[in-house]
């Protein structure tokens, strides 16, 4: 049975992502739909804000990202990238602005993720993790 503390941590995470995630996603969709770079980037910035808030929550409650959260994040990112690539390749209405928006936004998400890893684990340890896996 989950403890109260763990439940409240989950509440904080779900509330943050529900609020910021929904507005961020909406801005993203609006940005792509109306070819508006600014609105689309605002969506990505909002999503990054959710990520930062999640890190802060982890810090307050102790512990890192849970396995389910990591899995959900990778799945959502994968679906988003797939949707972006599919639209780029097959949608005749897909404009240069859309491509620019997607590339900038997804790059920013990847950079922020890498920045988090570096900050948390340090550069050497981050690369060491790959070396250890490779040498096994």
């Amino acid at each position: 049975m989950a403890t109260i503390k763990e439940t409240e941590r989950r509440l904080a995470v779900v509330t943050t992502w529900s609020l910021l995630g929904s507005f961020g996603l909406g801005c993203l969709l609006s940005g792509f739909h109306s070819d508006n770079l600014l609105i689309g980037l605002a969506g990505f910035v909002t999503l990054m804000g959710s990520f930062v808030a999640h890190i802060v929550i982890n810090r307050i409650y102790g512990g890192g990202f849970r396995a389910g959260e990591i899995a959900a994040a990778f799945i959502a990112f994968g679906i988003a990238v797939l949707g972006f690539l599919t639209g780029w390749l097959f949608d005749p209405a897909f404009s240069v602005t859309d491509a620019r928006l997607g590339l900038m936004g997804f790059s920013a998400l990847i950079v922020s993720f890498l920045a988090y890893l570096v900050t948390k684990h340090g550069i050497r340890r981050r690369f060491s993790m790959f070396h250890q896996t490779h040498n096994r």
């Binding site: 049975m1 109260i4 904080a12 779900v14 509330t15 996603l25 909406g26 969709l29 609006s30």
Partner: protein, 668 residues
């Protein structure tokens, strides 16, 4: 089905799933009655900050406030300073109630007051106030949410059907999850409400141009004397001026005040009414459920006074006044409506036409605003029925399982009563619902007695409360109808002398309470009450080195009340330039009254900060204070005897008979 409706349905479905999920989580964590009613007195400070703020402001702020600014102008916008006055009640009473709850195990304010005053009658009166809040007041909120859905779907969804469906979801997660579920869902609801208000305000500013263009348009409006209230006695557009300190008119419906109803006296007394929200029995439950007082000061100072105050002044005013400007520019028809949810619903539809996802999120934000208070009052209303009726009078030996069951039955009864009155008797419900805020304000004296003034006696407080409630009734339309039923034609209408019914109630309440207390002092009763105050003095008294600050605190509060919401706020009409002088005459580049509101908002935040933090009314500044107190395990003294005391049966029969008469009158 249009794209907007599909988005709306998806957003509402996701929101419902979220609510029910946390209802299930709450149910899994509710083992005892204490878990169910009070979340085991373990709600974390950040949850208290969000849930209490959200339920203090709720649908009134999201739907009603901008609509009334649209109708009445900046004179109503002065009530944005309710963001200061509402938490003032919390500053005075929350921490001390929390302490008493920890020490004596109180679950409801009825238990606390009954124990403190040794008065079962007071418990019943508190229950009456709670019922008025829980039934007609909430019924109005539910009706507003249904009406909003009808507006947003362009009539595709019937308002009554939407109301029942929305209420069913709230009932479900509240009934199964208890207060913990209410608090957990309330965190997102409060944030959605805040973000929604900001978002709509930003859209309004963007549509008008920018802040400068908004004020230029206001200057043009200020030069005319249009609007339902025309001009004030000084010839200013009533949209931009307070129509005097007081007007000795007979009251709305009998004699209309000149230039609008929001005189300084009305604003002050309406502020009293709004302060009644946090004095309501339901809010004491929030105080008792908090793990520690750490959340109280941030809730009162930063969340309510600072953040909500700024949002109301900057964004809600834009929403309300902006509708005049946008209408002139040929805005969509939705902005013509000003009924409950009409104006905000119109904005959300307008936004949804170009960005359906955005419109659907704002719709959910509006729903969240209404439902946060609905859920809180469903839950706490059920708690009050379970503890103050079932356990106190019907089954004093009720165990946890029975109390939880009756609590859930109580939630169901309240929800059903709300829906039936909202569906079949909306006019009566509106009349009764209008009593809620005034009724809540009447509990101020009782709470002041428990927390601060041991010399107020049981007889004084009970009589004062009864007289106060009667005064509220007879200065509202319900009282006029009641008098007419008995063949009496009252010479006054609603809110005579531009004084809100809460103000009339408090005047008589305090006068009678003080007078009767002088003549009913009894040493043994005083000794009993003094025990509570000795405990409070031991744990919550101001340190000796800060006592010289007391006159400063009093002065700050009184000056703020006087100038911010009291008689001298009429100075704000033109101290920063006459409203009809054009933008060049406006010292601050904004209407004078609006500038006055910003000034006293900022000073109000400072005042609340001073009281809550510096004067330690909401904090424990001393380190090392233990938060665990030995529980007083004596049984509720009245409980065992209550069931066999003929007086209680008689009172119960009177209440049942009265309730049956009211139902017969409402439904025929």
């Amino acid at each position: 089905m249009s794209g907007s409706i599909v988005w709306l349905a998806a957003a509402v479905a996701a929101y419902w799933a979220y609510c029910i999920y946390w209802g299930v989580v709450g149910a899994r964590l509710s083992h005892s009655a204490g878990d169910y009613f009070l979340a085991d007195r373990g709600l974390s400070p950040w949850i208290i900050v969000l849930a209490v703020t959200g339920s203090s402001f709720s649908g009134w702020v999201f739907l009603g406030h901008p609509a009334l600014i649209f109708r009445d102008g900046l004179q109503f916008a002065q009530l944005s300073l309710a963001a200061i006055t509402i938490p003032l009640t919390g500053v005075l009473f929350f921490k001390r109630q929390w302490l008493l709850g920890k020490r004596f195990g109180y679950v409801t304010s009825g238990e606390m007051l009954a124990d403190y005053f040794s008065s079962p009658l007071l418990r019943l009166l508190v229950m009456l106030v709670a019922v008025v809040f829980s039934v007609p007041f909430l019924g109005m909120q539910l009706r507003a949410s249904g009406a909003l859905m009808q507006v947003l779907t362009g009539g595709a969804v019937d308002g009554t059907l939407a109301m029942w469906a929305l209420a069913a979801v709230v009932f479900l997660y509240v009934c199964i999850g208890g207060l913990r579920a209410v608090a957990y869902v309330g965190t997102l609801q409060a944030l959605l409400m805040a973000v929604g208000l900001v978002a709509i305000g930003l859209v309004v500013y963007a549509k008008i141009g920018d802040f400068g263009a908004f004020n230029a348009a206001l200057a043009k409006l200020g030069a005319e004397t249009t609007g339902p209230w025309g001009g004030t006695a000084r010839g200013y557009n009533a949209y931009f001026a307070i129509p005097g300190v007081i007007q000795f008119t007979a009251g709305l419906g009998t004699e209309a005040p000149v230039g609008g109803p929001w005189t300084a006296s009305m604003i002050l007394t309406y502020s009293f009414a709004l302060m009644g929200i946090q004095a309501a029995p339901q809010f004491s439950v929030w105080a008792f459920s908090s793990k520690s007082p750490k959340g109280f000061a941030p809730q009162q100072v930063w969340a309510s006074a600072a953040v909500v105050g700024f949002i109301l002044l900057f964004f809600s005013v834009a929403e309300g006044m902006g509708a005049h400007i946008l209408r002139g520019g040929g805005a969509p028809g939705g902005l013509e409506q000003t009924g409950a949810g009409g104006l905000t619903g119109g904005y959300i539809r307008m936004i949804g036409e170009s960005a359906p996802w955005f419109g659907s999120l704002l719709a959910v934000a509006a729903l969240a605003g209404v439902q946060i208070i609905t859920a809180a009052f469903f839950s706490t209303g059920g708690t009050i029925l379970a503890r103050d009726l079932y356990r106190a009078y019907l089954n004093p030996a009720a165990d946890d399982r029975q109390q939880k069951l009756f609590g859930r039955i109580g939630v169901g009864l309240i929800a059903l009563a709300d829906l039936l009155t909202a569906t079949f008797s909306p006019q009566v419900e509106t009349q009764l619902g209008a009593l809620a805020l005034g009724f809540g304000a009447q509990l101020w004296l009782a709470l002041a007695a428990v927390c601060w003034f041991p010399w107020l006696t049981r007889e004084g407080v009970v009589l004062g409360l009864v007289v106060g409630l009667v005064a509220v009734v007879f200065t509202e339309p319900f009282g006029t109808s009641l008098a007419a039923f008995f063949g009496l034609d009252l010479p006054w209408g609603r809110w005579p002398w531009t004084i809100h019914s809460a103000g009339w109630g408090i005047f008589f309440n305090v006068a009678i309470g003080l007078l009767v207390s002088v003549f009913t002092q009894k040493p043994e009763d005083r000794a009993h009450r003094q025990g509570f105050h000795a405990f409070l003095a031991e744990h919550a008294a101001l340190p000796a080195q800060k006592r010289p600050l007391r006159p400063v605190a009093w002065a700050a509060a009184l000056v703020w009340l006087f100038f911010g919401v009291g008689p001298d706020l009429v100075l704000g009409n033109d101290v920063f330039g006459p409203p009809n002088g054009g933008i060049a005459a406006w010292t601050l580049g904004i209407p004078s009254l609006w500038g006055w509101q910003f000034l006293w908002w900022a000073l109000g935040v400072l005042m609340i900060w001073f009281l809550a933090y510096k004067m330690e009314l909401s904090v424990f500044a001393r380190r090392g204070l233990e938060f665990y107190f030995p529980q007083d395990t004596r049984p509720v003294a009245a409980g065992a005897a209550a069931a066999t005391d003929w007086r209680h049966w008689f009172l119960g029969a009177v209440l049942l008979g009265g309730g049956a008469a009211v139902l017969h009158w409402m439904f025929g």
